[in-house]
Symmetry: C3
Subunit: 161 residues, 3 copies
């Protein structure tokens, strides 16, 4: 059994009605294995702020995910509201993760500065927004994967390290 | 005719009563041509939070600016409240732009870390705070000008790129 | 007499009941001398949000500190709430200082991205969160000490520089 319960939430209007394959969500399922995580919750939902909030709360409070990774909805499109949904449900912000993801991926794409991704803590759950594209998901995950296990350990109250 | 309607808002107590020439505002009028923008709205107002908010709303909602660039009021002086006015009127934050402007201009001035500049989206309008000095305006504009046209395209719902 | 009145506030459950020596607070007392500061207020308190808020307000409004440096409570532990207390009492945010501290100390520790430190202005007082460890305190202080005197000058309304 994997160490961490992970929820993957894909915000995509097209994906939610079956018009687009969720490659980024599938990729996240693979990637979390590298930090001894297992996707126990997964959903593709429309880019609707209330719907995103409800699923974040469901995954965190009821399903007890240690980590929730979202993909999609972090850009400038009128329907991109994943960061706003995230901000509404977190109790404590973690600005350093999106800061670092933007700064580090700038070498790959100048558009990294336009990512509005957020990260934060809801109770004992860490929530992190990723971009919508598989390429962006992979690049951002690689920037922070090294520190995730430690972050999750501290979050559950294990301060031995 | 230029592609983008741009509003330039200068927050300056001295400028608003004619005691200081608005060199930064004039410079922004020149700079936006490089991204196929035209300044259709321009005002020099005092460093008063309500007044700044009212003008941001006017430029965004009534005058339909695609982009609003402010200059001034982003520092530590007691009257510097442009970021607070901006935060009050935006619907969605864009943290990556000021983050990048601060990080990139650090090579020019160690005081870049003291800039409290914000950026965000109000409806289909992108609002970005710039420093008060012409030197700061030029340096910051050059950091982000490359991504602005793409950002504005996405914001109006044009996702072809 | 030193130029700046500095408050040092240590958030530490163990420290507040005498179970841990406050090495970080003691270190901050030494470090502020380098910017012509003197610690006029100092307290070790538990990691309780209301208690932290009350002390920040006391140091800023009643004791008239020019600068308040906190240490501790910026991580992922359930009791780490110093940034939340700081956010609740500041009037204006200063995002560039924690951004820069995280980016610059990344060379020393990959866990720098997990710091949730904030900085902001309450009236004429600058409040900055530092990590809990003496090593982290020293590294972060060295990143920003060069700009602190200028920041404090501007904050009290002295714009000659």
């Amino acid at each position: 059994m994997a160490r961490w319960k992970v929820g993957v939430l894909t915000a995509s209007d097209k994906g939610s009605v079956g018009e687009r394959e969720d490659k980024s969500g599938e990729l996240l399922k693979e990637l979390v294995r590298r930090i001894d995580g297992e996707v126990t919750e997964y959903q593709v939902i429309p880019d609707d702020q209330s719907t995103i909030e409800e699923h974040l709360i469901l995954f965190a409070d009821m399903k007890r995910c240690d980590l929730i990774l979202t993909t999609g909805g972090t850009g400038f499109s009128p329907r991109d509201v994943t960061p706003e949904a995230t901000k509404a449900v977190i109790h404590r912000e973690v600005p350093g993760l999106p800061e670092r993801m933007r700064a580090a991926t700038l070498a790959n794409t100048k558009f990294a500065v336009l990512s509005r991704a957020m990260a934060g803590l809801r109770g004992k759950t860490l929530i992190i927004n990723f971009p919508g594209s598989p390429k962006g998901v992979k690049e951002c995950f690689e920037v922070i994967e090294e520190v995730l296990p430690h972050a999750l350990q501290i979050l559950i109250g294990n301060t031995e390290h």
